[in-house]
């Protein structure tokens, strides 16, 4: 593996909505490459016929059925009071979260 370039670090940061400082970029590149070098040992294993495990339930065969028979009843119940949520938001008009302008016109 050739390693992660500075350009890739910037691209991944953009995908993750992170804005790295010029000092952070080379440090992150160094660290990512060190970690990925460690991760590369996974390629020693032949996993061609191994099922991926996304959840512990995959292993135990206890995941809920496709028909959703283990889902809770679809009934109305109280949720958190909107006022309480808006009161601790960074910016709100009391009903909605306010954010900077998205569309110029």
């Amino acid at each position: 593996m050739s390693g992660v370039s500075l350009e890739e670090v910037r691209r991944v940061a953009e995908l993750a909505n992170l804005e790295l400082t010029p000092e952070e970029e080379p440090r992150m590149q160094r660290d990512l490459n060190a970690i990925l070098e460690h991760v590369a040992q996974l390629s020693e294993l032949d996993t061609a016929n191994v099922e991926p495990m996304a959840q512990v339930g995959d292993l135990l065969g206890t995941l809920s059925g496709e028909a959703g028979e283990s889902l809770r009843a679809d009934a109305m119940r109280p949720s958190i009071d909107r006022k309480a949520v808006m009161a601790v938001a960074p910016e709100s008009d009391g009903r909605f979260f306010k954010v900077p302008k998205v569309i110029e016109r």
Partner: protein, 491 residues
């Protein structure tokens, strides 16, 4: 007198706390613990820095409720008046929840985590919120935006992480039980480092509702306690199906305290050869081997086993946990919680600048790694590959548990290391979790029990793992080891 000089170890048992509440009042006990924290936790005391916030008003209201019940001679619950504290990743009304991050500074959650509600329903008095690595990412508690935590057993050492504040507060006697979370070792490793009991319940055993998520297929909630019997009590309080957490398991909860009365003779105890290889500190090896010999003396059969994929557990974990984290942490964007960057006039710049200013270096590192592993062209090579290796790591345990009832080995490869020792080397820091991560991937239960100290007096923990939902067996083995260690010390 320093709390560190109290006889018999500074951690407070539930029995002692309950008795103190009954003989005096829960209110007076809470006040006494607040004084202890005020005297010792800050820089003017021992500089342990375990508390991030005190929930005084709520705690004293709860203590008054407990006192009223006790005065009437009514049952106030198994934790009546017991002072406890929770890692700062749980939502709790009346106290800020930061997850150790600047990005949530000052945020007051408008609801309670289920674990918090259950503690109070059992009579516990929650003193406050405990320091941790930012978003539970770390093995030393040095990644907290609010300063490192010191190990009460050796103040120049780390308490472990990420639930370092939870382990330290318990070990210092600030609370008689604390809650932590464990994604790759974050309860068990700090428990070992601070010389207390820490339990990782089976995935699904304890509700995670109200927990600030790190890696959802791995995150678990569990207790720190002064002894194994207390861990059984806490687990009994916390365990069970929660309609608010779809991943909580709808399975009966054992009577863990009753289970502890049963002996361990006849248990088959697996000892994995991979846990005793290169890199294991010789003093830890000797203490753990002595704990295993003690189980044999109590009639357990010791069975050498192999967990051949253990060496792949760390790289597997760091791909999966970071991938899940990169998704979970996308919600922190300055819209709904915490501070927002004032330095942006478009929405996308606001997202980026809020995250740049709010996240610390380890969190950024993990978000980048996780985003990379999930990105087009790398998904199969990293993310899917790691999910497949997770299956192999987990199958190792299923194979082992066909032959043995519990697995016993070292909890950590080294004693607690010095503050600052590993901060510049992420891979070295990740390897501190070499014995804890596999159980996390497999979803089985595990715990750390103190089993002695090094020549320098640093705590050593032994790890016990058992089948999914077989916490009873794990706790019984833990109690046998704890009893043996106590007997050896009084000889």
């Amino acid at each position: 007198m320093s709390v560190l000089e109290t006889a018999g170890g500074p951690a407070v048992s539930l029995a002692a706390a309950r008795e103190a509440a009954r003989n005096g009042t829960a209110t007076a006990l809470a006040e006494r613990h607040y004084r202890l924290v005020a005297e010792l936790d800050g820089e003017s005391g021992l500089g342990i820095n375990s508390f991030l916030a005190l929930s005084r008003e709520r705690a004293l209201a709860q203590a008054a409720r407990v006192d009223a019940l006790l005065a009437k001679g009514e049952d106030a619950g198994p934790l009546a008046g017991v002072p406890v504290a929770v890692k700062d990743v749980f939502a709790m009304k009346g106290a800020p929840a930061t997850a150790g991050s600047k990005i949530l500074r000052g945020w007051m959650p408008p609801y309670d985590a289920t674990a918090v509600a259950k503690l109070e329903a059992a009579g516990a008095v929650i003193l406050g919120k405990l320091n941790c690595d930012e978003f539970a990412m770390g093995s030393s508690n040095e990644n907290s935006a609010y300063g490192a935590v010191r190990n009460p057993r050796a103040l120049d050492r780390v308490p472990g992480g990420s639930s370092g504040g939870s382990a330290a507060a318990l070990a210092a006697g600030f609370a008689a039980a604390t809650l932590g979370t464990d994604t790759g070792g974050s309860i068990r490793q700090p428990a070992a480092f601070c010389g207390v009991v820490g339990v990782l319940p089976t995935y699904g055993r304890v509700s995670r509702f109200g927990l600030i998520a790190f890696a959802s297929s791995l995150d678990r909630v569990g207790p720190f306690t002064a002894n194994v019997a207390d861990a059984a009590t806490l687990l009994g309080v916390l365990a069970g199906k929660d309609p608010l957490d779809a991943t909580s398991a709808d399975r009966p909860v054992d009577d863990y305290t009753a289970a502890l009365a049963k002996p361990v003779d006849g248990f088959r105890i697996g000892v994995p050869e991979e846990y005793f290889g290169e890199g294991l500190d010789p003093e830890i090896r000797a203490a753990v081997e002595s704990a295993i010999a003690g189980l044999q003396a109590r009639g357990c059969e010791i069975v050498p086993i192999s967990l051949p994929h253990n060496r792949y557990a760390i790289p597997t974990y760091y791909v999966l946990a970071t991938a899940e984290a990169s998704s979970n942490l996308s919600r922190f964007d300055g819209v709904r919680f915490g501070p927002r960057s004032q330095d942006a006039n478009t929405l996308s710049a606001m997202f980026r600048k809020t995250r740049e200013e709010g996240f610390g270096p380890e969190v950024k590192r993990r978000i980048l790694l996780g985003t990379y592993a999930l990105s087009a062209g790398y998904y199969d090579a990293y993310y899917r590959k790691a999910q497949q290796v997770r299956t192999l790591v987990a199958r190792d345990f299923l194979d082992a548990f066909a032959k043995v009832d519990a697995i016993v080995g070292p909890m950590t490869p080294t004693p607690p290391f010095k503050l600052g020792e590993k901060v510049d080397d992420p891979v070295a820091m990740y390897l501190a979790d070499i014995y804890s991560v596999a159980a996390s991937l497999a979803g089985i239960c595990g715990m750390s029990v103190p089993c002695g100290t090094t020549k320098d007096g640093l705590p050593i923990g032994v790890q016990i793992m058992a089948r999914h939902f077989d916490e009873s067996t794990m706790l019984r083995v833990g109690l046998a080891i704890e009893t043996n260690v106590a007997e050896a010390q009084t000889k």
